[in-house]
Amino acid sequence: MGSYVRVTVAGEAYALPVEHVLEVGELGQLRAVPGARAELLGIKSVRGQIVPVVDLGRLLGVHRAAPPGRLLVAEALGFRVGFAIDEVTGIGDLGEPEEPDEDTESGLLAGATLSDGVLVGVLDVPRMFESLDGTRR
């Protein structure tokens, strides 16, 4: 069981395998991209590279009350995506995730697990990246 980065998005708890996470920082100002899909908040320069920033809440279909303030940069399938999140709550092990429920709407979860009494959705990062990859559409 590997390590996970735990984040909160619109009050819900999610976790990403740590090997996909490159860095976490302030969301800051984003450059809007007219014509892009709704979940794309804009682009940002992260260490000289242009990184698309995706509203993780919107991608997962959770309604957010307040605008996200943090940026988590992840990598999979050879490219990078920034995710707007509320905050990172910790890094560590999780229990073995259970199989996703039938009614998992977005299909982007590898499973869910109870950790310290909190239900944590474990994100299927390659699947998320696949759904975001414009070359596959």
């Binding site: 991209v33 007219p34 014509g35 709704a38 320069s45 000289g48 242009i50 399938l77 990859d133």
Partner: protein, 696 residues
């Protein structure tokens, strides 16, 4: 220029020249070591050592001078005897390594090396004495010495290891002058060595003149009538300026050979250390790439060659067992592919295992498997541990340039790593402009001229303007891209864009000028958005989106063609309605009401989405929108519609749960034709409003 600055510049020139000469010495020494040397090799080795010594001595680099001198003495003797003992190559290669380290400032102690070289020289002198005794006075050998001064007798003591650097000489002539004069007389083409900073300055200046030209054109465009003389002169100047700019940009292009110099040496050393026999071949070395790309490429090629030699090529014994030639082969190949260049590092080694091929199948491709960060530690590929080293860096580099990395390999049959890189796309001249508070750019090559939009005509019901006798469609960039932006000012700047055989006019808020920028790709996430070719970071930290010129002309042409649909509209057909609403249930409710009443309906989830739909679908006759939506709300959407020349008269109905008078006023002020609240929502009212607005 201050004395210190002049000195620093000289030191830079010296470093560049010495490195180049050391590369050439390595090439010659490797040739001699493998038995391919000749009299010219020794002459050229001697000349390089001699020149490095002279320049180092003038600049006061005593340690470099001493070592170059020791090498020169040996080479003088070889020239004298006409015999180059093969075991002499190794100490001389050590000397070039040490010189390279000194020149780059990572000096190592050279005491041992100097005494080794002195010993080599003494041994040579003994051989010479023997040979002279045997051959008699005429036996000066195959390689005739032509400089009596350099054929110094062996009794000269080797130079002592320097302890104190000599005082710097400030009045020294540029050391490069001597070298380039020599090269110029022997080479077919006269070349000039120029510091990179000066070249960059030339490019910046050319870009700046471009900017002044755009401003001049803009200023002149405000005058009603340009005299023929003025536009002739302006045209001629513009063409010359383009030529200047192309030439300057061309100077950034360098052949791959500019970075392959040290590679044969690196391959030899790596192969020796790994106990492999390797033949290294470079093909297509004259293929040109942008200097900036080349600089980063150099380090990555080292990674790839290391992988090929250490992990790809088998030992001679293994190769014999596999019925392959003892000597492995590593090839670096550069092949131009249109606007891209393919750089291939190929080896005929063991390739990847069948398990790796299988794993690659699951991952999608070999490249995505092997370039995964930390890949080499994966359990299933322990036999290839290390093969992935650096490939993630290679992939990141290639991707950052908008290129592509692919890897071909079969078990037992070697591996090919293919980097597809843009020729010079990374640097591009763009015209920067602002719209809605954000900066955009378009390729300067697509900009014909910049004028001020004074008089707008309409053609087929769409805005158009006459440019040099041709009527061109005029489109607000905000409309083209589907962004929410306040209406344009009275006389907006208008950019005449040409792509292929199409021309169109794009309007914006203001022009920022032309600039040479580094184009960064937007990556796979935005790959399906063909409107942009990339983005660039501006000096003030802002990001400019670079719009594809084809988008500007194509969309404008489509917009212009819209009012005259190819299929004549069926007069009985009901007008199409766009419903914009972020709530799924409200959206579907409105859709069913309108569809039941006979209207075709398309939907959008928010204002931004709606603008994109409007862009795609020219048939939409009315918009029904929610007020509160993410991204672009109903007020902003209404403003964007009103701001667009093409759709300024498109009816908009705002439907919202916010029923206050203030909201209603804001909606009407933004240009909405009707405002109705959800609380008093009734199907008949909606249908009545819609019918009134579409005239049914």
């Amino acid at each position: 220029m201050s004395e210190a600055a002049a000195e620093a510049e000289l030191a830079d020139l010296f470093r560049d020249e010495a490195m180049q000469r050391l590369d050439q010495m390595d090439t010659e020494l490797l040739a001699i070591e493998s038995g391919d040397g000749n009299a010219e090799s020794v002459d050229s080795l001697f000349r390089h050592a001699h020149t490095i010594k002279g320049a180092a001595s003038m600049l006061g680099f005593a340690d470099i001078r001493a070592l170059a001198h020791a090498a020169e003495d040996i080479l003088a003797q070889v020239r004298e005897t006409g015999v180059f003992p093969p075991d002499l190559a190794a100490p001389l290669l050590r000397a070039t390594s040490a010189l390279r380290a000194m020149v780059t400032g990572s000096a190592e102690p050279t005491g041992d090396l100097l005494s080794d070289l002195a010993a080599c020289r003494a041994a040579l002198a003994d051989d010479q004495a023997d040979a002279a005794a045997a051959a008699g006075p005429e036996g000066s050998g195959l390689w005739q010495a032509n400089q009596p001064e350099s054929a110094s007798p062996p009794q000269t003591s080797p130079p002592p290891a320097p302890l104190v650097p000599a005082a710097p000489v400030t009045q020294a002539p540029a050391p490069a002058a001597e070298g380039s004069a020599t090269d110029a007389t022997t080479g077919a083409e006269h070349t000039l060595r120029v510091p990179a900073a000066k070249l960059d300055h030339l490019l910046d200046t050319a870009a700046e003149i471009m900017e002044y030209r755009s401003r001049l054109t803009y200023a002149l465009g405000q005058q009603e009538q340009l005299s023929e003389d003025v536009s002739d002169v302006l045209g001629a100047g513009g063409r010359l300026l383009g030529e200047l700019s192309d030439t300057a940009l061309g100077m950034r292009m360098l052949p791959i050979s500019a970075i392959t110099g040290p590679l044969p040496r690196a391959v030899r050393d790596l192969a020796r250390a790994a106990g492999k026999e390797v033949e290294f071949v470079v093909t297509g070395a004259d293929t040109e790439l942008d200097r900036v790309i080349l600089e980063s490429l150099s380090e990555l090629l080292n990674h790839l060659l290391r992988n090929a030699i250490v992990h790809g090529i088998e030992t001679a014994a293994e190769r014999e067992r596999a019925a392959k030639p003892r000597r492995g082969r590593v090839e670096l190949r550069a092949v131009p592919r249109g606007s891209m260049v393919e750089i291939v590092v190929a080896d005929d080694g063991r390739g990847v295992s069948p398990e790796t091929i299988e794993a690659a199948g699951r991952e999608g491709s070999l490249a995505s498997l092997l370039a995964m960060p930390g890949y080499s530690t994966a359990k299933e590929v322990t036999e290839l541990a290390g093969r992935g080293v650096g490939l993630d860096a290679v992939k990141a580099f290639v991707n950052s340039l908008g290129g592509n990395l692919s890897i071909r390999s079969q078990p037992g049959q070697g591996m090919e790593v293919v980097l597809l890189l843009p020729l010079g796309l990374a640097l591009s001249e763009v015209l920067l402009f602002e719209r809605g508070g954000d900066v955009y750019g378009m390729p300067l090559s697509a900009v014909e001229e910049v004028v001020m939009l004074t008089k707008t005509l309409t053609l087929q019901g769409r805005p158009a303007m006459a440019v040099r006798g041709q009527s061109l469609p005029v489109t607000d960039i905000a409309v083209t891209l589907g962004m929410g932006a306040p209406p344009l000012g009275d006389r907006p700047p208008a950019i005449v864009v040409a792509a292929g055989d199409r021309r169109a006019v794009t309007t914006c808020d203001s022009l920022l000028g032309a600039e040479e920028v580094v184009v960064k790709p937007l990556g796979p996430v935005l790959a399906d958005l063909a409107d942009y070719v990339g983005a660039t970071l501006l000096g003030d930290g802002r990001i400019a989106l670079l719009v594809a010129s084809a988008t500007l002309t194509r969309k404008a042409t489509l917009a212009a063609a819209r009012p005259e649909p190819e299929t004549a509209p069926d007069p009985a057909a009901a007008p199409k309605i766009l419903v914009v609403e972020d709530s799924f249930s409200v959206r579907e409710l409105q859709r069913s009401i309108l569809e039941t009443a006979g209207y075709p309906v398309v939907t959008a989830q928010d204002g931004r989405d709606a603008l994109a739909v409007l862009d795609r679908d020219g048939q939409i006759a009315l918009v029904v929108t929610d007020l509160e939506m993410p991204e672009l709300n109903g007020i902003e959407l209404t403003r964007a519609i009103r701001a667009s020349a093409a759709r300024s008269s498109l009816p908009v109905v705002i439907v919202t749960s916010r029923g206050s008078d203030g909201d209603r006023r804001r909606g009407i002020e933004a240009g909405a034709d009707a405002y109705m609240s959800k609380s008093g929502f009734d199907q008949q009212t909606l249908l009545a409003i819609v019918a009134r607005l579409v005239g049914r």
